[in-house]
Symmetry: C2
Subunit: 334 residues, 2 copies
DNA sequence: CCTTTGTAAGAAAACCTTTTCAAAGCGATT
DNA sequence: AATCGCTTTGAAAAGGTTTTCTTACAAAGG
């Protein structure tokens, strides 16, 4: 049987109050007893029962993280950052992978509610009203990661997608490319789809290349879709010399397609990705890409949630992190 | 304030016992009252407090998962499998990423202990006595995943590493290769290192190629190390026409190195990986590899733990899952 | 020497649920 | 009419901790 505070008290020959005090306010108990208690704790390997504690504090000291796809390095970076921040802040972390399934997400919120997590980081794309209402009904505070909401006042952490996309495309233009295509996210079920499209368009128009604005195909997260989208794109626009991809996995799909067609990257076509996943540096050729600070974003999201939980407010509601262009081997001067 | 069972009782004008019964044994309360209670529950959005419940049941209905490296697709596959199994079995899942840090792992065990997880799946390489003793002291049941222990009697789920390595090398031999090198895991801090080495040696010796038994370099998990190890390997043995890698990430590192040296894969050198990560199918060239059923292994580990928790025993102590050779583009007839 | 102040530590209440035990109601059997 | 057995319900205990309230005692101040 797990030892309880009572067992410790008995062994140290003090009351349970004293044991509790040794754990929570050690200064308030006289040294001789404190030592006895500490010894008993050590000997019994006593660990306070978190159920009893939770009952009193009405807190679980656990945060929840909702991610859409754990098989995406983007989210694993976030997890590492958030977990490290949680350790620093004294929280445990409960990670749930929704596999982009709405019902699954909803049922994870129930699970979080039942387990009384103190707060949730929601890194699962769009904040649909269904989700929002459920979270509010359950009275669970939450912050958004890599997404935002203008409809509701929810703290969020993300990069400036429009500017990042602009920077990527501007880079291609500066390399001398004039026929630039894009593999994007569908706009309906994606938060970052529209702003990245906007950035693409802005860079083109600024350079007087507006006519390229339609050389776009869409894919849904996976390599295979991007491969297929690349096929469509190059079938319709064989003149392209550069492609802007809104995800590194898309860039890999495009490059694989071009490879199969015996089109050299970056010899004939430059490809730029987005995210700077760990894989971007392992692929052949190594990917030129826009780096997101995934690890830091995970940290910030946890810190922000903590801020919200402890102070009841948040310094910056919608926080932007810095992105960065990383030039590697998949792009070349035209 | 969160509504309690008392609020429901008051609203429905019954005792709290009745409310509790409605939730746990509905048939035992007469219909008229049951309906009143259900209505009150609905109106108040009542959800039983899991702390109070845990206090009584002494169970958290939560399992813990310890993994060494969340930025490795191998483990993300496992996570998916285990999470799905947990949903089916009615558990929540708490994932902790140790980053291969001993102290961190130890402190996660403390966290699991404090949170009173019902059991742990340990997918973190070697079961050092330190870990074992701590887990036993904390009285937390656990099972091993992708690792095992002959020293202790612990349930485990893994593949037959020796046979899998043998199959991989045999495949290369059957393709006509006679100069085969290997990039392995260091034997000191790895469970699968030695058996995969044994499999490599057995296949070579069986084919009368025993002299190749020393054409081996070691790396520690990461692409960059494998790249470096490949450099050493090919500097010492430029005659190699095939390389057996004990991880897909190693295979990518080797192929990148060969690419930089303008050595064609599979044209001049065949490379075979291990694991069949999602990336194996995205790399250029697509990797020939030994597939491990990561998803199923995650499932099985959770089921096994559940079996252990509920029945107090386990049908097969050390369970082996099937591996499979997947032939893609990184290997070719000599 | 008596009163006040302060410190250390125990007793007991509170947190919320489940479950055991007891009691009440009621029809059926002797 | 008394007893029995059954169903339904409420009261109360238990689970482990924190915290408030009290008490006991020692030191300081008048």
């Amino acid at each position: 049987m797990k030892p309880t505070i009572r067992d410790v008290a008995k062994m140290a020959d003090v009351s349970i109050s004293t044991v509790s005090r040794v754990m929570n306010a050690p200064e308030s108990v006289i040294e001789s007893k404190r030592i006895r208690v500490l010894e008993a704790i050590e000997k019994l390997q006593y660990q306070p029962n978190s159920f009893a504690r939770g009952l009193i504090y009405k807190k679980s000291f656990t945060l929840g993280l909702l991610i859409p796809d754990i098989e995406n390095f983007y989210y694993t970076g976030i997890i590492r950052g958030m977990q490290d921040a949680c350790i620093k802040l004294g929280y445990s972390l409960m990670i749930c992978n929704t596999d982009r399934d709405k019902n699954r997400l909803l049922s994870y919120i129930d699970a979080f509610h039942e387990k009384q997590v103190d707060g949730i980081v929601f890194a699962s794309d769009i904040m649909y009203p269904e989700y929002y209402e459920k979270l509010v009904r359950c009275r669970i505070p939450f912050v958004l990661l890599s997404t935002h909401s203008y409809e509701y006042e929810i703290p969020s952490v993300e990069i400036d997608d429009e500017q990042a996309a602009y920077d990527a495309v501007k880079f291609l233009i500066d390399l001398g490319h004039e026929d630039i295509g894009m593999i994007g996210f569908n706009h309906e079920n994606s938060i970052s789809g529209p702003p990245r499209y906007q950035g693409f368009i802005r860079a083109l128009e600024e350079a007087g290349l507006g006519r390229n604005g339609e050389k776009i195909r869409y894919a849904t997260h996976r390599f295979e879709h991007a491969y297929h989208a690349a096929h469509e794109l190059f079938t319709d626009y064989p003149e392209l010399t550069a492609v802007f991809c809104v995800a590194d996995e898309f860039a890999m799909g495009v490059i694989s397609y071009l490879k199969d067609r015996n089109i050299l990257v970056p010899g004939q076509v430059s490809v730029i990705g987005f995210d700077n996943l760990r894989m971007a540096n392992m692929f052949i050729p190594k990917l030129t890409t826009i780096a997101q600070p995934m690890y830091d974003m995970g940290c910030r999201a946890a810190e922000k949630l903590h801020e919200w939980l402890t102070t009841g407010t948040v310094e910056v509601l919608r926080e932007k992190m810095e992105h960065k262009l990383i030039v590697r081997e998949s792009s070349r001067q035209r």
